[in-house]
Amino acid sequence: MRKILYILVPLVLTFFLVITAALPQSGSEIQEVRARNTPEKSQINKVHDDPAVLNNSNLKCKTCHTSEYPTPKDPGLTDCPRENLVSVYQSPKEGPESVAIVEMSDKYTGVIFPHRVHAEMSEMSTGCAGCHHYNTSGPILNCRNCHEKSRNREDVSVPDLKAAFHRQCMSCHKQWSGENGCNSICHKRKDITKDNITSTNISKTHPELPEPGKITWETNSNINKTVTFFHDEHIKLFKIKCTSCHTSESCIRCHTPKVQSDLNKPVKIEKSIEEHHKPCINCHYGNKCTKCHSDKEMSPFDHGKTSGWVLSTYHKDLLCSGCHGNQMPYRKLGTKCVSCHRDFAAEFDHKLKGFTFSEAHSELECANCHVGKDFTKNPVCSDCHDDKSFPGDIPGEKPGK
């Protein structure tokens, strides 16, 4: 009897276990969980085939996946690295001209936000990413994509939509207007007027910025008091882009904030010595102070005076970096043609100097006329001709003659 029990009990138990495990409901639950955790194929493709992902050379597999061999079931994703991936850029013209913000307010009329003018202004500071923060290289998201409309909500760690809008606008607007009100620029109260204050904002673009020529500063120093900066040269001559120096301009740089008690007086913004020098030092690292600081105003840059090598017709139009490279500060170059034009002799076309060789001259070596191959000096004719000299006489014919 006992023996039968010994056999029966485990048998019944096993049977029971098998039945429970085989019950359909538990199996489907597991499947459901898996379905929730593994992304669908289309979703994977959507990420991998996104041109923004394909074309972003900064993106490596390891940027998003931690595991060596990611599979759809186990993709081994890292925390989203978007903060390091922010690379959104569009020219102001590509973005919308103005954006209507109408969903938020019961007290005020909607706000027409002149997007383009702000995009233009931010080109000299944070660029698109200043407002479209945490935007990866993908499509540009607007505030509504992430910020919830309702203030009374579960997750309060991210500001709601109303706060998102206001935080973007107010930090600058308050700085230069010094105002706390809502109605001077953005809002109009519904009960006072029906006309839309902000309709004037539509298609607003930033007026063209006047380019300064020469700027001088008087420093507190006893010697070499004056600093002269040729802004025009840096743009026209050195072909430096605005955004190479103006990297973090705020609106108040131009829209001078006024002292609150005296609205005619602009606020003076104190800068440290480092901040003052920062834009120049980037390129002029290693220059002596006297490069900029002098006892009197400096005269504009003159290649001939500074380097002793006058720029001729063809060289005048070149970018500085064309000869000097991108390394700052520029190094002095040799004055011989061959110091830049390595295979100069073989290639030089004398037509550029205004003539073709006559038959008698075409077989000559360069050094026959250009003594010591110094092409900066006039060629010597008197070795062969008693009565000829350059440039009065030329070893050939002028075209068209």
């Binding site: 009374n152 500001p159 706060a163 107010m170 308050k174 700085q175 009100g181 904030p257």
Partner: protein, 311 residues
């Protein structure tokens, strides 16, 4: 009126001062039974722009006279440091911002809704109650106008209708309980354009505050005011400048009420006649205050006169 109030008080005292307003259970300041989900509000002074809309909303919600919203953009009020009073339960003050003089720091002031409120302990008739949700509320029908709460409060918040001869009130922020019954956010939280006031569970709000400080260490000082001050408060602050420079009283972690509460609550459960009580309590508070003054150096000043001169 007074008689009625007192009758009411006795009635409620008889059942052990346990019935709370709003139907939520009330608790003594010393009780540990605060809800896990109790309210916390973070004032992010880096985000506040000083528009004072919260002042307007608070006044309006409490049916105080409040002029036109537009008039609140007047910045001349910031010339003087202001305290909440019986015309405004919350005020905004302006402080210099050395990091950027164009963006001053604004600090909202209102009742902090302490975790262990001294006012609740000091109130001899149980007119002030700490609710489970964290708010400290005041019951008009029980208050006898003794103003002990005003003396006890470390933040000098409860104010009194000194100008009213008949039925004067004690006033302080009530976390907009009328609005919250109707499932609305406190008026100030709702109106704030920048969501400088983050309303949520205290535990969550605290972790948001920590994250913000961690993410912008150059913007904030590493201190969440109200996380631990006198045992913690429901309103908490983060700022770019040390809080004593923002006129927030430097307080230790020790709770303010200490032993006085137990005795006061105890006496009342035995129906000791109020006259005898007042005498006893006066002595008790005096003794207690002097004791605290000696033993607890972290609490800088419990003397109201002294603090008054500071502000």
């Amino acid at each position: 009126m007074r008689n009625l109030n007192r009758r009411n008080f006795l009635k409620t005292a008889a059942i052990g001062i346990s019935a709370g307003a709003l139907g939520t259970s009330s608790i003594k300041a010393s009780d540990k039974s605060l809800s896990e989900d109790r309210i916390g509000i973070l004032v992010d002074t880096d985000v506040c722009v000083g528009c004072r809309h919260c002042e307007w909303a608070c006044r309006t919600a409490h049916e105080f006279p409040a002029c036109d919203l537009e008039e609140y953009s007047d910045i001349s009020v910031f010339e003087k440091y202001r305290r909440p009073d019986n015309t405004s339960l919350t005020v905004i003050n302006q402080f210099e911002n050395e990091k950027n003089p164009l963006l001053p720091i604004y600090v909202k002031v209102q009742c902090m809704h302490c975790e262990k409120p001294a006012c609740v302990s000091a109130c001899i008739v149980g007119a002030l109650t700490k609710l489970e949700d964290g708010s400290v509320v005041w019951d008009d029908s029980k208050c006898i106008g003794c103003r002990y709460c005003m003396v006890a409060c470390q933040f000098q918040i409860p104010t009194y209708d000194y100008d009213k001869a008949i039925d004067p009130h004690i006033w302080k922020c009530d976390l907009c309980r009328d609005r919250r019954i109707r499932d609305k956010l406190p008026a100030c939280v709702e109106i704030c354009p920048n969501e400088a006031l983050v309303f949520g569970k205290r535990s969550e709000v605290l972790s948001i505050a920590r994250k913000r400080i961690k993410r912008k260490p150059d913007v904030y000082v590493e201190h969440i005011y109200g996380e631990n001050e006198i045992g913690g408060t429901s309103w908490m602050y983060i700022a770019g400048k040390s809080f004593d420079k923002l006129k927030m009283p430097p307080l230790g972690k020790e709770t303010a009420p200490g032993i006085s509460e137990a005795i006061q609550h105890g006496i009342f459960s035995y129906f000791v006649p109020p006259v005898a009580l007042f005498a006893l309590l006066g002595t008790l508070m005096w003794v207690n205050k002097h004791k605290r003054g000696e033993s607890d150096t972290e609490i800088e000043s419990t003397d109201p006169d002294k603090e008054e001169s500071e502000f």
